[in-house]
Amino acid sequence: MKSHIANLFSPAAIRALAVPGAILLCVVAGAKWNWIAQFPDDWTLPVAAGINVILNSIIPNILPLTSTVSHALGTMLGSLVATLQFLPWPAVVLAVMLIGFKAGGLRLLALCLCALSYIVLAGFWRQSMATLSLVILAVPISVLGGFLLGLGAFLLPWVRRPIELLFDFMQTFPAFAYLIPLLLLFGFGPIAGLVATAIYAIPPMARCMLSGLTQVPRELVEVGDMTGCTPLQRLLWVELPSAKPMMMIGINQTTMAALSMVITASIIGGFDDIGWAVLSGLRQADLGKSLLSGLVIVLISIITDRITAGIFAGRRAQNGWHMRWGTAPVLLAAAAILGMGALSRWAAPDLVQGLNETRGVIDLSVVNSAVLGFVGRYGHILDALKSGILYYLVLPLRLGLSGAVLPTTWGFAMTPPVTAFYAAVALLLAIRQWAKGNPGGAAGTLSLAILLFIGLVGFPWPAAILLVMWCALRVSGPKFAFFAGASLGFALLSGLWIPFVKSLYLVGVSVALCALVGGLLGMLAAHNSWLSAGLRPINDALQTMPQFVFLIPALMFFKVGEFAGLIAISLYAIVPAIRYTEAGLRAVPATILETARQLGCTPAQSNLLVQVPLARPALLLGLNQTVMAAITMLPIAATVGTAELGQQIYISLGKADAGLGITAGIVFCLTAINLDRMLRAAAERCATPDQDK
């Protein structure tokens, strides 16, 4: 008992409590010295300008090369688009159906038929072919690049770490930010978008390649060695063939990544493709059009996914006579159909010409009026939802309780007695944790209480750095704490602190929404197989959808602005919340649940006291995925008017200010990488609680 009490006042415990103390000090001092509350402008460094100077000295030197590449790609793209648009659509539909049948039997054939008919009927055939051309050109580049990078990383272990870091960067670096230098290099138009797409889609291939090669069973490598293979023979005959299934998965994922990026990149414009149709629909508030074209993208993504996955699964998924057809003959037959289609175009030019220019027969202007009607009719509900989230979630995070709690909304003000009560509750909670021998938790509670009171925007920057570094130190170690501190320092010095903080709270709010709604859905689905089966295809569809599409429903019901962005982000990020919650809860062994029931737990008790704690690592990983998804959605959401880093990037795209874009992109990337590492480390600590002390 004595040692227990001594523990309470051990140096470590005192040190932990120094953190909220220092934060409080910063807050108080900030009131007196403004430089603590707000990072002074003249302390910032001209990072963006510096990057521009560097770029300006590099770009002219490689411009001849890139313009040649650009020209070549442009020619290829032009002829590919012309060819695809030249082919009569019935031939293309037939060919795709044939391939779909080979890949997934009658079901996939029916899916292809429905999807393609929809595209024709909705009148987006031309645009679809343009988008498809972009993907067809980008994917081989990405696959080749990913193949080489993955192979290189496998053969040269010392470059593996740096290359993996590069992949992290490539996947989190917002595409808008590197679109700008690409625009400068490849000129305005679809080629810059094509290159951006190709770059973005490299990492999935490279990752699969590397993991496929490193996972070749040791025995097989030994077989190679024992039969006297030279290193090259071993690579070609043992390792690469063994890694083939993973490579196929890589190609599938790269294709999906390219599809979603090609839509994002269409923001550059200058190309009459599906992405542009979605975007212009959004811009003209023609929701019918953007909905129609958005659906086209979704359908193309789903078909592409199923077909590539089905074909690559190959022999192993042998269940049906369609599988017995060879892939090559099927492709040949498809090509023959296309060839016949082309011939028919010469035979009866007018007819086919007419066919391909069919205007859409689905008219969704009714949707516009329906939505408008709905919004008009139920506007008060939507408004209530909006203001509820705004007043009770967004504003408190942004301005803190001190700024957001007003008599008009909360029914009371933060008068000194209320504040004192708030402080007392926080203190009591902290003392309880401290008494339980958890001074770190107590310090965390206090810091959180101060943060909630002040709000993210007004939180003094030294306190923010201190808090983040302390968290990083606790979950991981000094190396990570230093990295996190340096990242924050970069945000401060580059003058992007405020957008950075706004990004954080936008992510925070949407993650909170996702955790609430998604967590609830996941929990229900874990206990109800019907709901689970119903949610699965929805989740699948949500995950294959390009990010832009999520803006559509958000804009349908809410006006352009931060709130629509918030809804779009949440829609996009909710899938991992649902999936991980359900999977985590379902993974709790049945025997443990039986034990709990035996001990007399009510279902609710067994849920809260047994399942949720046991599923904690999975839940934290789900949180991590949700946060990552929310972050990658930020720049897209910026196009409907949020005010944060994404907006900075979007603005820089408009001004072609590469420096600003890249700086914001770096801050963005650092945010993502730090959050990712922090949550992962927390999940790991959760999974191995013994290391806690």
Partner: protein
Amino acid sequence: MSSAPSLASPRQVKLACRDLWKLYGARPRDAMAAAMPLVEDKDRLRSELAGSGHVAAVAGASLEVHEAEIFVLMGLSGSGKSTLLRCLTRLIEPTSGKVLLDGEDLLAASRHRMVELRRHAMGMVFQNFGLLPHLTVLDNVAFPLRVQGIEASKRYARAREMIELVGLRGLEGHFPSQLSGGQQQRVGIARSLAVGPQIWFLDEPFSALDPLIRRQMQDEFIRLQKMLRKTIVFVTHDVQEAFRLADRIAIMRHGSIVQMGTPAEIALAPANAYIAEFLRDIPTLRVIKAADVMRPLAADTSPAHVVSGSAVLEEIVPLVLNGTPLVGVQDEAGAIVGQVTAAEIAELARQGRD
């Protein structure tokens, strides 16, 4: 080849290793140097190495494998059998020691020479079969020949021969995933024999199989060896398998060889309690041969029954039970060279039981 292999002397050493060590850990060579003074006390040596984060997977193993014998490495899981085997083929680079193949120091051999040796002199069978999933049975068996650059028609002819040998005719076009475990291992065996190796390494070849199939495969293995007379290093953790197949056995524990000898030598005189414990599962009378335990023929006796020196005691038991007090043992030439008494057999049978 430095010295032409000759079958004339059955005890010619084909493969040997001397004081072989393999340490796993961050700095194996330094740890090795530091631990050498303790080499006499194995337990302290191990705890010392563990202290610096090292494991001695093989700790000072020396052995000699004779021409055309089946040499079995036996030990519990983790005793270092696979590691020792792979050190002998240099799939794993030993930390120190010597490996001699026909007197040639393998650890000093160039990379090129090793490739040469593996292509022509060594064959290996793996526990999990190690079949390449993207190749058919025929292509799997022909793989080592393809590596050597042998033209297609020749290598397929040879591969068909091997497939025939292991009794898989008709399955040439199948993929490994379409075969049963026993069939897969037959493919593995055929492949390892395709190049006509002088030394045949088998790492727990039958451990992944069901008991019944395992027995069949052991019989098959004995049949093949009668035909081929390879020099064999066979790894197993199964005592019965070891005693059934071995000409000589080395029992491993914690990376060292604790006893080495013929099955009868080990069964008659286990070196320590650990090995004696193993032997409880062994039908002693089936392992010991008459020549192993016979004594010189007493002067004035003429045994009523005579058996060959290679007969196992189990065969003599019925005679003894019929009341024959003593059985004569004759050598290959037919001369009676010794005797075994009923009392001795009874004594051995009792030892085997407890």
